[in-house]
C-alpha cells in the first residue's frame, strides 16, 4: 500500500505528455478538467498495447488473442467495480459514459417501473444528462419530474426534502458533485430520505468518482453512473454500477450480439448480467484504458489527490477574492466544494474571459456547462469555470489570476 503523503505534483505532471506543451507561445495551463481530464502515459500505453498486441474481439474466439483481450477487458471491469466499492464485478455494466448509463436506467428500468402519477425527484443543480432522460421518461409514462431547489450558495435546499419525497416518488436521481459549481451534495442523506419511501436511488457520479473515494455500499444507493474520461481514462467509456437484483429484473437496453443467450425466430433469451446490457462489440480498448486509469489513480492515492485539490481550491478562492469585480458561484466552505471554481467578472462576458485566457495559454470553460437551470437560478447566461485536477499547481492558479488581470485591463 502506498504511504499516505503529499502528492509530488511535478512527478505527476511528468506522466501526462499533453501537459508539456506551449499554447499560443505560452506553457499550457489546463484548467478544463471538469470537461475532460488529460491522460497519463499508463493509459495511453494500455490503449496502444491492446491494439498493437492483443487486438481481438472478446467472449468469442477460442484463440490466444481473444483470450488475452477478454482477460484484459474483464480484468478492467473488476478494477473499475472495485473503484466504486462494488463487491461483485458483474454488477458493473460498461456504457459510453455517464449519459448512456443514465439513459440505460431510464429506459431499461424506468419504462417498466413508472406509471402515471409517479414522481421522479431530481434537482435544479443537475447536468442536462440527469434532467432530459427523466423528462423523456416522464413523457412516455405520465410520471412527473420534481426538483430540489438551490440556495444562494448553490447548495440543495434539504428543508424541502420531506415535502418533495412522497409515497409517489419512485426514483431519486442526484449528482454526487455538481459540474457547474463544484457543490458536493449530501447524497447519503438524500438517499436515506428516498429509501424511506421505497424509491430507487441513482447517483450521477460523473464528477464524483473523479475526486473522492466512492463506496456504493456505504452510500446505500441503487445505481451509480460515471465516466472514464474525466478521471484520466479514454473518452467513450463509462459505467453503470447497479444492484445485482435490479439488473437481473431489468429488461435489456439494446438488442444485438453479446447480450443474448439463445435466439429463436420469435423470441430470444438473454445473457447473464452485465452482458445482457452490452449489445454489440464493446469499447474493449476503452474499458482496458479505464482500468489503467483506475490503477494509476490508486497508485497515487485518492486521499493525496483530494488534499492536493483542496489546497488548490483554497488558494484559488483566496486569490479570486482579491480581484475586483469577480463573483464566485457555489459554496464558500471547502467541505462542500469540489475542485471547480465557477465565476463571472463585471463587464467581461465569460466568452471574452475565455478567449483572453486562451491567448495566455490558460484553458478554461465558458458557457452554461450543460446546466441551464443553474445559470437561471443565478440569473446569468453563462459563467467561466476553472476546474482543477491532480496535476495542477499553485503557479498555474497564479497564471489564471494574471490572465484575469489582463481581462480587467481590456474591459475596465
Amino acid at each position: 500500500m502506498p504511504v499516505e503523503r503529499g502528492l509530488d505534483v511535478q512527478a505527476v505532471r511528468s506522466e501526462f505528455p499533453a501537459l508539456a506543451q506551449a499554447v499560443h507561445g505560452k506553457p499550457l495551463v489546463y484548467l478544463d478538467n471538469a470537461a475532460t481530464s488529460q491522460k497519463p502515459r499508463a493509459v495511453l500505453d494500455a490503449l496502444s498495447h491492446y491494439y498493437r498486441a492483443d487486438n481481438a474481439n472478446v467472449h468469442r474466439g477460442i484463440h490466444e488473442l481473444s483470450r488475452r483481450a477478454t482477460d484484459a477487458y474483464e480484468g478492467a471491469r473488476a478494477k473499475v467495480a472495485a473503484w466504486v466499492g462494488a463487491d461483485d464485478p458483474q454488477e458493473l455494466v460498461w456504457t459510453r459514459g455517464t449519459t448512456e448509463a443514465i439513459n440505460l436506467v431510464a429506459t431499461a428500468w424506468g419504462l417498466d417501473n413508472l406509471t402515471e402519477g409517479d414522481e421522479i425527484l431530481i434537482s435544479v443543480l443537475e447536468h442536462h444528462s440527469n434532467i432530459v432522460p427523466w423528462q423523456l421518461l416522464a413523457r412516455r409514462t405520465g410520471a412527473e419530474v420534481r426538483y430540489l431547489e438551490l440556495d444562494e450558495e448553490g447548495r440543495l435546499v434539504l428543508d424541502d426534502l420531506e415535502r418533495l419525497v412522497t409515497d409517489r416518488t419512485k426514483l431519486v436521481s442526484i449528482s454526487h458533485v455538481s459540474n457547474a459549481l463544484g457543490t458536493i451534495n449530501p447524497v447519503s442523506q438524500i438517499a436515506e430520505a428516498g429509501r424511506a419511501v421505497g424509491a430507487r436511488i441513482l447517483i450521477d457520479g460523473a464528477q464524483g468518482a473523479v475526486h473522492t473515494k466512492v463506496d456504493v455500499t456505504d452510500l446505500d444507493v441503487d445505481f451509480y453512473a460515471f465516466s472514464g474520461h474525466k478521471m484520466c481514462g479514454p473518452t467513450g467509456i463509462g459505467a453503470l454500477w447497479a444492484r445485482r437484483e435490479l439488473l437481473e429484473e431489468m429488461a435489456p437496453y439494446q438488442g444485438g450480439g453479446e447480450m443474448i443467450h439463445l435466439v429463436g425466430r420469435d423470441e430470444s433469451t438473454w445473457a447473464d448480467v452485465p452482458h445482457k446490457f452490452e449489445a454489440g462489440t464493446p469499447n474493449i480498448a476503452g474499458a482496458i484504458g479505464f482500468g489503467a486509469a483506475v490503477d494509476f489513480l490508486s497508485e497515487i492515492g485518492m486521499d493525496a489527490i483530494a488534499a492536493h485539490e483542496r489546497a488548490l481550491v483554497r488558494y484559488a478562492l483566496e486569490r479570486f477574492d482579491a480581484i475586483e469585480g469577480v463573483r464566485v458561484f457555489g459554496p464558500r466552505s471547502l467541505d462542500e466544494r469540489s475542485a471547480v471554481v465557477s465565476f463571472s467578472m463585471d463587464d467581461a462576458h465569460p466568452h471574452d474571459i475565455s478567449t483572453i485566457l486562451d491567448a495566455e495559454g490558460v484553458a478554461v470553460r465558458a458557457g452554461h456547462h450543460c446546466a441551464q437551470l443553474v445559470m437561471k437560478h443565478f440569473g446569468v447566461p453563462a459563467t467561466a469555470r476553472a476546474s482543477f485536477y491532480l496535476y495542477n499547481t499553485t503557479e498555474e492558479v497564479d497564471r489564471l489570476v494574471d490572465g484575469l488581470e489582463r481581462v480587467r485591463s481590456i474591459f475596465a
Binding site: H24, H351, D352, I356
Partner: protein, 150 residues
C-alpha cells in the same frame, strides 16, 4: 498556426460599442422581429426592423452576450437605416465573407465600422458570435419576403 493577437480582436471601437450599444431598445413601429440565439454559449439577440417599400427604415435590437456578438449587432444596426433590402443582403454576404477570411471582401467600403471586426476571423471559435446579428438579419429578410408573398 500563427498566434493571433488579442488587440486585433478587442479593438477600441468594438469595446466601445459593447459598453455603449447603439439602437438598443424596443422599436415600437416594427414590422418584423426575429429572435436568434446561440444555444451553445447563451448569446442572444432580438432584432427589430421597420421595413417599408423594400427599404429598412429603422433597426433596433435587444440582446445579451459577449462583446463580439453585441458590438457586431450594434454596428450592424447603424448601417441598416435607409438601406434597401438587397443592399442589406449584400452587406450580410460581404461581412460573412470577411469572417470566413476573405481578404478582398474586407476592402468593401460599404462595411464601414464592421471592418473593425476583421480580426475576429483569426479566432475561428468566435466567428459565430460576430455573425449572430447577421443571422438574425437574414432570417428577418426571409420572413419579410415570405409575408409579402402571402
Amino acid at each position: 498556426m500563427e498566434t493571433p493577437k488579442l488587440n486585433s480582436l478587442y479593438q477600441q471601437l468594438i469595446l466601445e460599442h459593447y459598453k455603449s450599444p447603439r439602437n438598443k431598445g424596443d422599436l415600437e413601429d416594427r414590422t418584423i422581429e426575429v429572435h436568434m440565439a446561440n444555444p451553445v454559449c447563451g448569446d442572444e439577440i432580438r432584432l427589430q426592423l421597420r421595413i417599408e417599400d423594400d427599404t429598412i427604415e429603422s433597426a433596433k435590437f435587444m440582446g445579451q452576450g459577449c462583446s463580439i456578438s453585441q458590438a457586431a449587432v450594434s454596428i450592424m444596426t447603424t448601417l441598416l437605416e435607409g438601406r434597401s433590402l438587397s443592399d442589406a443582403e449584400d452587406l450580410a454576404d460581404s461581412f460573412t465573407s470577411v469572417m470566413h477570411g476573405d481578404q478582398d471582401a474586407a476592402r468593401d467600403k460599404a462595411l464601414g465600422d464592421l471592418r473593425a471586426l476583421q480580426g475576429v476571423s483569426k479566432f475561428p471559435v468566435r466567428v459565430k458570435c460576430a455573425l449572430l446579428g447577421f443571422d438574425a438579419l437574414r432570417e428577418a429578410l426571409r420572413q419579410h419576403d415570405e409575408e409579402r408573398d402571402n
